[in-house]
């Protein structure tokens, strides 16, 4: 990153190495086709009443045939620790992260 004389930041550009058939911005993963049989992680970031919201999401997902796994961050003030992220990635097909307040 280069800071210009007027204080603005010069953008860092790279050249697209691909066939440019996909948009340049990073794409979201495709949505799961259905909930039935899906393993869904619910990540409570440990803010007040996040659990209330997630309990209800849990009920709805189970009604739709998904398997729900619950996780929580030790504290909302920091990013989820690596081992928690790895655990979620290895056990779940999808994850819902809940904010609250």
């Amino acid at each position: 990153m280069t800071r210009l004389e007027n204080g603005s930041v010069k953008p860092r550009l790279i050249l697209d190495p691909t066939s440019e058939r996909e948009p340049a911005i990073r794409q979201r993963l495709p949505r799961p086709a259905q909930l039935r049989g899906l393993k869904v992680g619910l990540l409570d970031i440990s803010k007040a009443r996040g659990d209330v919201f997630l309990d209800r999401v849990d009920e709805r997902l189970q009604e739709a045939g998904a398997t729900v796994l619950r996780f929580s961050k030790p504290t909302f003030t920091k990013p989820a620790p690596l081992d928690l992220r790895q655990e979620i990635a290895s056990k779940c097909d999808a994850v819902i992260e809940a904010l609250a307040d």
Partner: protein, 500 residues
């Protein structure tokens, strides 16, 4: 490698910002150049005599106040390929350059300008020497040139720009976008790609090949971008371009090579003087790690297939195992010490011409024979090993590249065996009894239908065994690189000449 210092734009590629030159005489100078200072009186005379435009690169008041146009941005100098100062040009009415002289040279300046007695006093006495070389143009100063190339030349690059966000680490950003083969890549900035394109005389917009599986037309520029990412130096680019061309032929069939469940990828063999020019390694560990051109050329080819062609593992690439050589598998033949003609010559190239040959191969497998000193014994050793390629019962389906080491090739050289002789003998030794390869033979279900019983069949098709010579000086070993489905139904090795 090339005469011009920057990309030659052709046709539509001419950047619209290229400034035209005024008609008449045009001179480029800088005050810092003693020859320019020397010719200042000559420039005054030419200005009096007619149309003269002077561009000054460092001091707008040179040769004198109000006489010169300011090219301290070096835009005019850069766009018009000024390599030295003073340079005198004659430009026709349509703005085309007709002639140029570098440095001071009385006769040439007089001829170009049509003005006589330049640099002579009223009595005809010499005020200037007949000639004096100039200095380097600031527009080719090694410190300034890369930035000038980006400032004035990047608009000629057609690839989409991807802006990285402030918080992104650039190496991580390339991983996140799926552009890498699993190892870090060099970020392909405009500056690096422009420098890479210096390695070829080919136009950035020239289409090199149509790359499967997505069947996308791939330009020199796209190959250059991926070559930057692979870690190539600009002088490697012609090899990468030739290998991409070879891989993207119907004969090589990269689509099939990707889509197969077998563990093959492009194996790139380089022949010709360029091996030494680039410093490629044909000796100790020739098929292994540690040499930049060996590793990065092969990697660049695979990155083109991945990024431009869309050939990614788990998508069209369905390999059960793959092999580490699918990151990069490129090596040169040791032609200088080989008793045999180079591999490229087996495909019709003149020895001494730079060529690549691509072969769809798996990883190399070692053949150990430390006792054979007679060619017949060593050929038999090779044959029993080659017999096992993919499966001892597999016949005719797969080609093989046999890499013979210096110590093994010496056994054949001392006995006067040519490459043809060795190949023919291996084919003879590899005629297999059908009874050994039918289903159930040896208690193994795999095999040919019962009808093969009583027949004799070759292990390889006639052109299915290719011999290359390289490797370290010590080690009574050779290596075999198994191929994929051979012939027109699968993949055939393809040779291409390397063009600058």
């Amino acid at each position: 490698m090339r005469a011009s210092r920057r990309i030659v734009y052709s046709g539509d590629m001419s950047p619209p910002t290229r400034p035209p030159l005024p008609r008449g005489l045009v001179a480029f100078v800088k005050r810092d150049c003693p020859t320019c200072v020397l010719v200042a009186p000559v420039l005054r005379r030419l200005a009096e005599a007619g149309d003269l435009t002077v561009y000054t690169q460092d001091d707008p008041s040179f040769p004198e106040e109000g006489m010169a146009l300011d090219d301290t941005s070096l835009e005019i100098s850069w766009h018009h390929d000024i390599e030295a100062v003073p340079t005198l040009l004659r430009v026709d009415d349509s703005g085309e350059e007709e002639q140029r002289v570098l440095g001071w040279h009385r006769e040439e300046w007089e001829q170009l300008s049509g003005v006589e007695k330049l640099g002579r006093g009223a009595a005809g006495e010499d005020e200037l020497p007949d000639q004096r070389p100039g200095c380097g143009s600031l527009s080719v100063d090694p410190v300034l040139a890369p930035d000038l190339a980006v400032r004035f030349g990047a608009s000629a690059l057609a690839a989409r720009r991807i802006e990285l966000s402030v918080l992104e680490d650039e190496i991580e950003a390339l991983f996140d976008r799926g552009f890498t083969d699993g190892l870090p890549v060099v970020p392909p900035t405009e500056r690096r790609v422009l420098a890479m394109l210096e390695g070829t005389t080919r136009d950035p917009s020239e289409v090199v090949a149509t790359v499967a599986p997505d069947l996308v037309e791939c330009t020199v520029e796209k190959v250059a971008i991926n070559a930057v990412m692979a870690g190539c130096r600009p002088e490697y680019l012609p090899v990468v371009l030739a290998a991409v061309e070879a891989v993207c032929t119907d004969e090589f069939n990269i689509h099939g090579v990707l889509a197969t469940t077998m563990p093959v990828g492009p194996v790139v063999v380089v022949n010709g003087p360029i091996r030494r020019t680039l410093g490629m390694n044909a000796a100790i560990n020739a098929l292994g790690q540690g040499n930049r051109p060996n590793l990065t050329i092969g990697r660049a080819v695979q990155l083109v297939v991945r990024n431009v062609g869309g050939g990614r593992p788990g998508e069209v690439d369905r390999a059960t195992f793959g092999n580490p050589g699918k990151l990069s598998f490129c090596f040169p033949e040791d032609e200088e010490n080989s008793p045999w003609q180079p591999l490229s010559a087996d495909f019709g190239a003149e020895p001494g011409v730079d060529c690549v040959t691509v072969f769809a191969g798996e990883g190399p497998r070692n053949i150990v024979d430390q006792l054979s000193r007679e060619p017949e014994s060593l050929a038999r050793s090779f044959a029993v090993n080659l017999r096992t390629l993919h499966h001892p019962k597999a016949l005719l389906g797969f080609d093989c590249m046999l890499v013979v080491s210096p110590e093994h090739s010496r056994v054949f050289a001392e006995a006067g065996w040519s490459k043809r002789q060795l190949t023919d003998r291996l084919h003879e030794l590899l005629m297999i009894d059908g009874d050994e390869v039918v289903r159930g033979a040896g208690g193994i279900a795999e095999g040919f239908p019962e009808g093969m019983s009583g027949k004799r069949l070759p292990k390889f098709r006639p052109e299915g065994l290719r011999i290359v010579r390289c490797g370290g000086g010590a080690g009574l070993f050779s290596a075999m690189i198994g191929g994929w489905a051979s012939g027109p139904m699968g993949s055939q090795p393809v040779m291409r000449e390397i063009r600058p």
